[in-house]
């Protein structure tokens, strides 16, 4: 029996630029359960990053509600939101993911430090996680000494290490070659499933959808289609549906 980790109700985010108002997120509602891995797809500018920023409590929505682990983000003050980001959310960004002066291992461990949970056992877990992501020989490298893909994988480890309720990943495979990308998303999916986290991955690459349980398709800020059937998702990933 899995609980609802994330719930979005009638979410709207509008930006006004030069007098014109656009709805980057336009009346979107959905839920994600613990242990469920969801892909958020859509063309460039469809509102995926905006969506993720709101879910991560980095951006205040214009209207609508976001509940994480049953807590309404709108009811929180800034201090509580910072605490929520630290404890309940794991995040990888499109770019500029890592702290440049911390090594791969230190970047991951920093998340534990932040939560006051860095100890012998968690250090071992962090190294194991990095190993699963193929980074055993990169533990002491600084971000600048790693490829974009390696940096993304460190960011994934950092997003998972503190067992957050919700893991949000914005285009983690953008800078990976296809082979690596499959491998990373598969590991990501496994970790989400094993640890019973709720995961949302934003991607351009529909092929990555073969590892997810559900696909949310956005267009012009609206949630236009949801693929829930495993067969349909596989077809989407193979490129037989558009």
């Amino acid at each position: 029996m899995s609980t609802i980790a994330l719930e979005v109700r009638d979410l709207v985010k509008s930006f006004s630029l030069d007098g014109a108002t656009i709805n980057a997120v336009d009346h979107v509602s959905f839920q994600v359960k613990s242990g469920e891995f969801v892909a958020l797809v859509g063309p460039s500018g469809s509102g995926k990053t905006t969506m993720l920023s709101i879910l991560a409590a980095l951006l205040t929505p214009t209207s609508g509600q976001v509940l994480i682990d049953g807590q309404d983000l709108a009811q929180m003050n800034e201090k509580q939101r910072v605490k929520l980001r630290r404890e309940k959310i794991g995040f990888t960004f499109q770019s500029n993911n890592l702290i440049p002066f911390l090594s791969a291992r230190e970047n991951v461990e920093f998340m534990l430090r932040l939560n006051g949970r860095l100890d012998h056992a968690s250090r071992i877990r962090s190294d194991e996680l990095l190993a699963r992501l193929g980074l055993s020989d990169r533990l002491h490298n600084l971000p600048a000494q790693m490829s974009g893909g390696q940096q993304q994988r460190v960011a994934i480890a950092r997003a998972l290490i503190h067992n957050p309720a919700v893991v949000l990943a914005d285009e983690p495979t953008a800078s990976l070659d296809t082979e690596r990308a499959y491998q990373v998303v598969e590991t990501f999916a496994n970790l989400i499933h094993e640890n019973e986290r709720a995961g949302i991955i934003v991607t351009h690459d529909l092929r990555m959808c073969q590892y997810v349980d559900r696909v949310l398709q956005m267009q012009d800020g609206k949630l236009v289609r949801i693929y829930e059937d495993k067969k349909e998702i596989i077809e989407l990933a193979r490129g037989t549906i558009h």
Binding site: T49, L52, V82, L84, N96, I99, G116
Partner: protein, 386 residues
């Protein structure tokens, strides 16, 4: 508490992994420190060169001729004034001081010196460190101060020759050096002490002055029974003794010609150097923060509080400033070792300490804007930039 640990961790890691950049900032601060300390030392040195003798007087009050505006050189007292001063209740002792300057010529390079007439054992005559007091009367004996000894190889027992212009003639006089006293620089010159009668004979003077053989003191140094009673005693002296005005030591120093103007100039230089320091440091940290916007965004996005981010910036700035001031202080010390005694640099004043305290403050002060900026960076920047 946890915030302090996290902030320190971040600050240290960042400094260690960017040693070059932080060292560069520290070196800039070190250079500013060097400059400020030298200006402070120069100020102290110049002040010393001007006031050392007066500041060292074993006296609390100085008697001038009335309406001389506390100017030592324009004050000319009657010979019996010193006796009248000694008779005033509350005066422990008083010594007449005769000022003038001359040139020691029995040297490879002639040395201009202040020639002061004073009475052994009375205020105005510093304690003898080596040798003995000169004998009074017309004995051609003199005592040199340490500044003369530092600049020349004149020693106790030597005989020196001085040259003074008297009327239209250059006259040469021989003096036997019988003693040494602590540095007593007066009017930026090292000092020799002679008895009053000798002083009157050998000092530079005009044709008209040559006719008289009576030495008139410029000032009288007054030692009080109760050193705290300067104001009351000053009033009593002016009342009991005719034709005089009285100043304490500080007033006397401030009225040495050029003293206040010079100190004002040096202080203004110091203040401006500090201001420039604040701007340079401020600029440096501001640029650094601008470059760090994405990384600060990430830190905040993953849940670091503003406290941690701000504190870590503060720790870095304090660390770098302290490092810079340390290096600068060390450099200043090394340089100071190599300076000849002719350049008036004095590093041990309270002035150097104040300068160091101000220098330590310029980092946090200059970096304040950047710290505020860091605290205000929105975590969303991490997602949108790059």
């Amino acid at each position: 508490m946890k915030n302090i640990f996290l902030a320190t961790y971040l600050a240290i890691k960042e400094v260690v992994r960017n040693k070059g950049r932080f060292l560069l900032v520290a070196l800039v601060i070190a250079l500013i420190t060097l400059l400020v300390l030298f200006i402070a030392a120069l100020g102290e040195g110049l002040a010393n060169g001007n006031r050392q003798y007066v500041a060292n007087l074993d006296a609390q009050l100085v008697v001038f001729l009335e309406k001389s505006d506390y100017s030592i050189s324009s004050s000319r007292l009657e010979t019996n004034t010193v006796k009248s001063v000694r008779r005033v209740d509350g005066v422990a002792d008083a010594g007449a001081i005769y000022t003038s300057s001359t040139e020691i010529v029995s040297l490879p390079e002639p040395l201009k010196v202040s020639m002061l007439g004073a009475e052994p054992g009375r205020p105005g005559m510093p304690p003898i460190l080596d040798g003995r007091e000169f004998r009074g009367g017309e004995a051609r004996e003199a005592v040199i101060d340490r500044n003369v000894a530092l600049r020349t190889d004149i020693q106790v027992g030597d005989t020196i020759q001085i040259r003074s212009t008297q009327g239209t003639e250059d006259e040469f006089f021989e003096l036997k050096i019988v003693g040494l006293v602590e540095g007593q620089s007066y009017f930026f010159q090292p000092t020799i002490f002679v008895p009053a009668a000798t002083w009157e004979k050998i000092r530079p003077q005009s044709e008209s002055e040559l006719t008289s053989d009576t030495p008139y003191p410029n000032i009288i140094a007054v030692k009080l029974t109760d050193p705290l009673q300067t104001e009351a005693m000053s009033a009593r002296l002016t009342e009991k003794v005719t034709n005089i005005e009285v100043a304490d030591i500080d007033t006397t120093i401030n009225n040495i010609p050029g003293y206040s103007a010079q100190q004002g100039t040096v202080q203004t230089q110091g203040v401006f150097t500090l201001l420039i320091g604040i701007l340079v440091i401020g600029g440096f940290f501001q640029i650094q923060i601008l470059q760090k916007v994405p990384q600060i965004g990430v830190l905040k996005a993953i849940g670091s509080s503003n406290g941690v981010v701000g504190l870590s910036a503060v720790i870095q700035i304090i660390f770098v400033t302290a490092l810079g001031v340390g290096i600068g202080g060390g450099l200043t010390y090394l340089f100071s070792l190599g300076f000849p005694p002719t350049i008036p640099l004095v590093f041990n004043g309270a002035r150097s300490l104040i300068a160091i305290a101000l220098l330590l403050a310029i980092g946090p002060f200059g970096g304040m804007v950047s710290i505020i900026y860091a605290v205000r960076i929105e975590p969303l920047k991490a997602l949108r930039l790059g």
